[in-house]
């Protein structure tokens, strides 16, 4: 197996590591892929890439002993067996001696994955909060009647009364409570059109005059 084949095998292993990181982090964090873009995710990818590259290089020694007819695919086979060895065996290995971990690869990988997932969850929470605050600010100028209609249409009958009771129980602003419930129950694609409509609709002579003047 040539050095060029080994290089290609490692490149494929690194690419597969990226793919695996892009699957595992959103899956563990239950967030969008966009929220997973960050330093901790890159670190997790590098950990995976390092492990997969080492096992790919080790696998290349064995792959070179395969039939000469398969020599064109040596690089691919080395990457395949290398990644398999790391993902299936080494990643699930915790070796302890006298109750002390000496080769706790499983723990290292899990800690790196949890680090990346924790960062993604925090980012998603911040992004969501920012989006919701913007939507709340846009819905606040609507009348109580309009908010009640939106709650009725989007959250169903009887919800307005339940929310009013809950707001009173928490000594909170009833209108804000209903807006926050509306925004927290709907997805951004559902609540943005509701808040946008307000700015598009002319709401009285003052607004029309402003539009003419601008």
């Amino acid at each position: 197996m040539s050095d060029s084949d080994r290089l290609w095998a490692v490149i494929i292993a690194v690419a597969i590591s990226l793919l695996l990181a892009a699957i595992e982090i959103p899956n563990r964090s239950k967030t969008s892929l966009a929220a997973c873009l960050g330093v901790q995710s890159v670190f997790y990818w590098l950990v995976l890439a390092l492990g997969n590259s080492v096992t790919t290089l080790l696998a290349s020694v064995g792959v070179a002993k395969l039939s000469a007819g398969l020599s064109h695919f040596y690089f691919f086979a080395a990457a395949f067996f290398g990644v398999f060895a790391f993902e299936a065996i080494l990643k699930n290995t915790n070796i302890t001696m006298f109750d002390r971990g000496v080769l706790t690869i499983q723990d290292w990988i899990q800690n790196a994955l949890n680090g990346a997932s924790g960062a993604a969850i925090a980012k998603q929470a911040t992004m969501r909060q920012r989006q919701q605050n913007l939507a709340i600010d846009k819905l606040k100028p609507r009348s109580d009647q309009e908010i009640n209609t939106l709650v009725l249409n989007k959250l169903g009958p009887g919800v307005v009364e339940t929310l009013e009771e809950a707001a009173k129980k928490s000594s909170a602003d009833v209108k804000l409570y209903k807006i926050m419930q509306l925004v927290s129950q709907l997805t951004p694609s559902e609540y943005w059109p509701l808040s946008e409509k307000l700015t598009d609709e002319p709401r009285g002579p003052t607004r029309r005059i402003e539009k003419k003047g601008s």
């Binding site: 899990q110 949890n114 929470a125 911040t126 709340i136 809950a166 928490s170 409570y177 926050m180 927290s184």
Partner: protein, 91 residues
């Protein structure tokens, strides 16, 4: 706080454990969704304060307490894994 101490703390307090597991399972939860079993809000508030101090969760505040968002941290995910292992009898 060491992760094993945190797991011991969670195992010793059922309310703390159930509030933590609810957040860890869903990754992020609003305050009003933490109180499903009729426990007093003050008790839930105390539990989230302890969890925040242990760095297992973080808070994203909202204008109304019921809508405060609590999300699990990396330490929280590690603790949740250890807790599952402990409950399975592996730790």
């Amino acid at each position: 706080m060491m992760i094993n101490d945190t797991v011991a703390l969670l195992i010793s307090n059922k309310l703390l454990q159930s509030v933590f597991m609810e957040i860890a399972k869903n990754r992020s939860v609003q305050f009003k969704d933490l109180n499903k079993n009729g426990v007093a809000n003050e008790q839930i508030e105390q539990a989230v304060t302890v969890l925040k101090e242990a760095d297992l969760i973080k808070e994203s505040p909202a204008p109304i307490r019921d809508f405060n968002m609590y999300y699990v941290t990396a330490d929280g995910l590690n603790a949740s894994r250890k807790l599952s292992l402990a409950e399975g009898g592996h730790l």
